[in-house]
């Protein structure tokens, strides 16, 4: 009995996923593209870097990179503290 209920619920949920996947926009054609167009037009002249991805990661979205670097630093500090020598 439980298995049948779970199966019906799974089929209903999965059909919702299928319908939304069919109704999705075409691949590579975003609905709102103002920000993408701004980066493609202006990133090279504003930051002077040829690599637009790096200019986004290190300039426009610098806070994100700061968070990533801090997470890595915290992980390294935690592992060093975990593997310290307790006994001689």
């Amino acid at each position: 009995m439980k298995k049948i209920i779970f199966g019906i619920a799974f089929i209903i949920f999965f059909s919702f996923l299928i319908v939304s996947a069919i109704n999705m926009r075409q691949f590579g054609e975003p609905i709102f593209s103002e920000m993408d167009d701004y980066f493609i037009e202006n990133a090279q002249s504003e930051t002077g870097a040829n690599n637009v991805v790096t200019s986004i990661v290190f300039d426009y979205r610098g806070f994100d990179t700061l968070g990533e670097a801090t997470v890595l630093f915290a992980a390294a500090v935690g592992i060093i503290a975990l593997f310290r020598r307790v006994t001689k």
């Binding site: 002249s45 930051t47 002077g48 870097a49 040829n50 690599n51 610098g62 890595l72 992980a75 593997f83």
Partner: protein
């Protein structure tokens, strides 16, 4: 971890310098070619891991000092935040060196161009800082784990 066979050690001797050079190339050219600080740092750390598995933890610790890597890690993160604070005249993380004519300040040619190292403003500096931080963080994680495994094995045998 014992050291591996003579074949593995010879190939490691041949190849690990080139891996480190390629990693620093990816870090330094982050504003021109695909890649950047994180990716290049991971490549250099993979060379450290190669040394570690082919020579064993005890031999590698003579070459790579944990304290030096720790200092490099903290220094990289401090340099990154400091570079971000230097642009505080306008905003945090402002690219104050771009198109200024001084260090890394040449204007980039718009469109497809072969690339100029002297462009990008603070982006190359931040790439170097993040690259140093990532390579020393991943390196020190691998080193500490290997030496911890060595210590546990020695303790179990005694």
């Amino acid at each position: 971890m014992k050291q591996m066979s003579r074949i593995v050690r010879t190939v490691t001797n041949l190849i690990y310098g080139f891996i480190i050079i390629f990693g620093f190339y990816v870090i330094l050219h982050g504003h021109l070619t695909p890649g950047g600080g994180f990716q290049g740092g991971a490549i250099v750390a993979s060379a450290f891991a190669l040394l570690l598995i082919s020579y064993g933890a005890l031999n590698t610790e003579k070459l790579l000092k944990k304290d030096l890597l720790s200092i490099l890690e903290s220094g990289g993160l401090t340099m990154f935040i400091g570079t971000a604070f230097l642009g505080l005249g306008i905003t945090f993380f402002y690219n104050f060196l771009a198109n200024s004519g001084s260090w890394f300040g040449d204007a980039a040619v718009i469109g497809i161009n072969p690339g100029n190292m002297n462009t990008g403003g603070v982006i190359p500096l931040m790439n170097i800082a993040v690259g140093l931080e990532v390579l020393s963080a991943l390196g020190v994680i691998v080193l500490v784990m290997a030496s911890g495994a060595e210590f546990t094995k020695k303790k179990e045998n005694s």
